[in-house]
Structure formats: C-alpha cells, structure tokens
Amino acid sequence: MRKLMLTVAAVLAVPGLAAAQELSGTLKKIKETGSISLGHRDSSVPFSYIDDNGKVIGYSLDICAKIVEAVKTELKLDKLDVRLVPVTSSTRIPLIANGTIDLECGSTTNNEERQKQVGYTNTHFLTASAFVSKKVKNLKKIDDLKGKTVVSTAGTTNMKQLVEANAARNLGINVMSAKDHAASFLLVELDRADAFVMDDILLASLIASSKDPGAYQTSDDAFSLPEPYAIMLRKDDAPFKALADKATSALFRSAEGAALYAKWFTSAIPPKGLNLNVPVGEKLKKAYAAPTDNPDPKAY
C-alpha cells in the first residue's frame, strides 16, 4: 500500500517520470538512508567556499538546497539529513561515481568528455578560461606565456586547455599543478608561478579577495568559449536527474532565481563583503529562460 501511494505521489510530483516505477538509484538510496551527501569546494568563490566560521556557502550550494528540497518533497521525508563532503577538482568525479557524494555543488564545467563518467543538471553559469598574472610581468596574450611557469588547479578543464595550448602552440611552458584554486593563486602571489589559468569568474573573485587586488590582471586572450557550469550527479540515473532538472529549471525561471543570482554576483558577499559586480550576461539570460544541460559551448 505504501509503495503504491509512493508511486502515485511520484507520478503526480514529476510528470516526466515513467509511471509505476519503483524508486531506483540515488532516490532509493536517499529514501533508505534518510540522508543526502553534497560535495563542496574550499575556494570556488562565489559558487562554493568556506566562510570565516567554517560554514560552507555559495551560489551552487543554494541551488543544491533547492534540489534537496525537491527531493524531500518527492520522497515525503520529514527529515533529510544533509551531509557536506569537501571535494577537490581531482576527487569530485571519482567521488560521484563511487557514491560518496550524490550532488557536486561546486564550479564544475559540463563537457562531453566528462559525461562518459558523470551526469549534469541544468547549466547555472557560463565562464571562459583565462589567466591571471601580476601586472608587473606584463602578460596579456596566451603567446606571452612562452617559456614561463604556469599553474592551474589539478583536475580542471583549464589544466587540460593549458597543456593542449602548450602543445599546439609549442610554447615550452613549465606547467605546474596545485590542489585547489587558493593554492594555485598563492603560487602566483609568491612568484613561484608567472600565471594561473582558470575560469575567469573564479579569477575575478580570487583577485578581488587578494591582499593587493591592484597588483593583478587577467589576460586578454581566453583559452575557450564560455563553457557551462552545472551541478554534477551520477550518470544514468534518470529519475534523480529529472527531479534535479525540474527543480533547477523552476528556480532559474523564477524571480527567486534572479534574486539568488543577485545575492551572489551583484551584492556584497562574505567573508569580506566583496561585491563581484557581474550582472547576468545575454547568453546566460537565455540559458536561464530556457534551462538546458547541453555541454556544447557553441550552443549558448
């Protein structure tokens, strides 16, 4: 009887779902354990980071909270235990696959290659890959990096773009990798690396929160078209993805979604009351009006 009611509820709640289907995959796991695990980052401001009190906050976390809410309603749970698991660029994909985390609420680029191992819900941001360096070094174009030491965060698409550009343009760059974005930026700050290749939005927030924001500049050249960020989830788990897609697309289309964007990108954010001042661009506006999980940058 209970199962029947659940099924009915599921059909009512998510019209896209196949009728009379038993719970499977992540939803079944959440139902059985009464808990959901969210992966988060240390220093992906403003998407997913830790504030002064050790609290995990950010735009991606707020989006995930919406998905968690939808899961709770869907499964008719009175209480859903939310566990936060720190991940890095290099651990996030294996940890989704091995079940340690159910959703990755970070700053993860959705691309076709990664879709071989993981799935994504709707795009929540678009960002291009650029590099930051100290102004005194006068590095603006990708070709200026010839023979320099350049760092990127291990496990990112940016790292891959850097090594590909290095090989394609024969730049002879000494490529270094660091564990997370804060560590990568630190190498530039300490002059251990000449430049740091990363998504431009993350670079902007790293510069803004650095000790001397005036000392840094981002490159004129980009390594890529703006690429989509999305919350990552397990591959081949259609019911869970359908639920996440529904929750995020409802959010992005609503006034609440716009307010959430404003909260993180055009207002002061913790810990230092920094305002990133990045209004919604045309392409992103389109992506919010018609939410999509398309990994192709050209589609935006």
Binding site: G25, K28, K29, T33, S37, D42, S43, I50, G54, R83, V85, P86, V87, T88, T91, P94, L95, A97, N98, G99, T100, K179, D180, A182, A183, L186, E189, L190, S210, K211
Partner: protein, 230 residues
C-alpha cells in the same frame, strides 16, 4: 628583509586548529594504530602458521603495502573503498564512506603491514618451549597464541609499536592530498585564506615536533624501564 609576522593569526585560529584539526589527527592516529596492531598481529600469525595459502597470502599483502607510497594508497582507497564495501555487503550500490572512515580504513590497512613485521619479530622472540608447554597443558593453537605468546610479544615490542605509532601520527598529515581537514589541513586552510603561510606552517611544524619529540622521549624512558635485565 624580515617579512611582517602576525602571531595573532595563530591565536585567532587556535580553536579551529585544535578542536577540528588536531582532534581529527589524534583520533585517526589512535584508532588506526589500534586497528593496525590488531590486523597486523593477525597477519603475523598467518605468516607464521603452517597452513598452506595463509602464509603466502599474508606475505603478499605485507609486501604489496610496503612497496607502495602511502600517497598512492590514500588515493586508491579513497576511490576504491565504496566499491569494495558494495561487494562485501552485496549492496546494490556503492557504500557511502565518509572522509574519516575512509582515512581510518586506509591507515589501518596500510599500517597493519608495518605492525605485522613488528609483531612477527616479537612473536619469534618468544622461546619455542613456551609454545610446546602450552600444547602440553592442552591448550589449542589460538589459546597458546592469545594467552601466552602474543601478550609477551606486545610487551617486548611495546617501544617499537609506539615508535611506529609516532610515525603514523606524522603520516596522517598526508590526508592533505584528498582535502581532508586534519591538523595540517586546518593550518593550511587558514594559511591560504589569510595569506599567512609562514606563521601557519612554522606553527604546524612546531606542534608536530613538540608532540612527536615528547612522545619519543616517553617511549625511550619506557624502554629503559621495561627492558629485560640481562
């Protein structure tokens, strides 16, 4: 040039460093040492047993663990343990293993290889006559081992076991590579957030030194006292 040093940053982050970081490090060290010693003793008994398969199996395991860098083992287990849990528990999905549990399993399994070498030497140091005497009064193999041989081996090997535990305490800092917040992870978080590398890393070094050094002094004095008079 002397860079500006801010000792305040240490004072401000003390609660975070110790309550979150050091308590993680110490709990992990204590539990992994205990688990490693238990499993290590079992492995040592397997290696000394005359049953076929058991000895080569245990030897193979010990040699495998001792040949691999801990960093590699940490990565392996962090990704692998949930799948192994799935197989063991016959679950229909990978078992969710938290960061602490994952680290604990990794260090227990890794250190067991080192503890087993210590325990093997300890067991072999007990005169064979004791084993024979045990059998003579009707005890089984496991009773002889459990009641007579192993307790003496542990006592004889205590200083070496504790020294290995100090090494384990230092090795736990390597969970840094999977972004778990142990003592060093906490120090490094503060260092990066506030741009205070020098202060935090020097402080971390001092704390590790103070703990390891005093612990090894204690072990040395223990060694003097428990040494078998010759």
């Amino acid at each position: 040039m002397l860079p500006d040093i801010d000792f305040n940053v240490i004072a401000r982050s003390l609660p975070y460093l110790f309550r979150q970081g050091m308590s993680f490090t110490l709990t992990l060290t204590a539990l992994a040492a205990l688990g490693g010693l238990l499993l290590g003793t079992l492995l040592a008994l397997m290696r000394l047993s005359t049953l076929p398969i058991l000895a080569p199996l245990a030897t193979g395991y010990v040699n495998l663990m001792r040949s691999l860098p801990l960093v590699l083992v940490i990565f392996w287990f962090y990704f692998l343990v949930p799948f192994v849990g799935q197989v063991i528990l016959r679950a229909d999905r990978p078992v969710e293993v938290g960061a602490f549990a994952s680290a604990l399993i990794t260090f227990t399994l890794f250190e067991a290889a080192y503890f087993s070498e210590i325990m093997r030497a300890g067991i072999q140091s007990i005169p064979r006559g004791q084993l024979a005497a045990g059998y003579a009064i009707g005890l089984t193999y496991w009773q002889v081992m459990g009641y007579i041989i192993v307790p003496q081996a542990v006592r004889n090997m205590l200083p070496v076991i504790l020294t290995q535990t100090i090494i384990l305490f230092q090795d736990t800092s390597l969970v840094y590579v999977i972004s778990i917040t142990d003592f060093l992870g906490a120090a490094s978080n503060v260092a990066q957030r506030d741009g205070r590398l020098i202060e935090m890393y020097v402080f971390a070094a001092l704390v590790y030194f103070a703990i390891s050094f005093s612990a090894s002094r204690l072990v040395k004095s223990l060694q003097m006292r428990t040494a078998i008079p010759r």
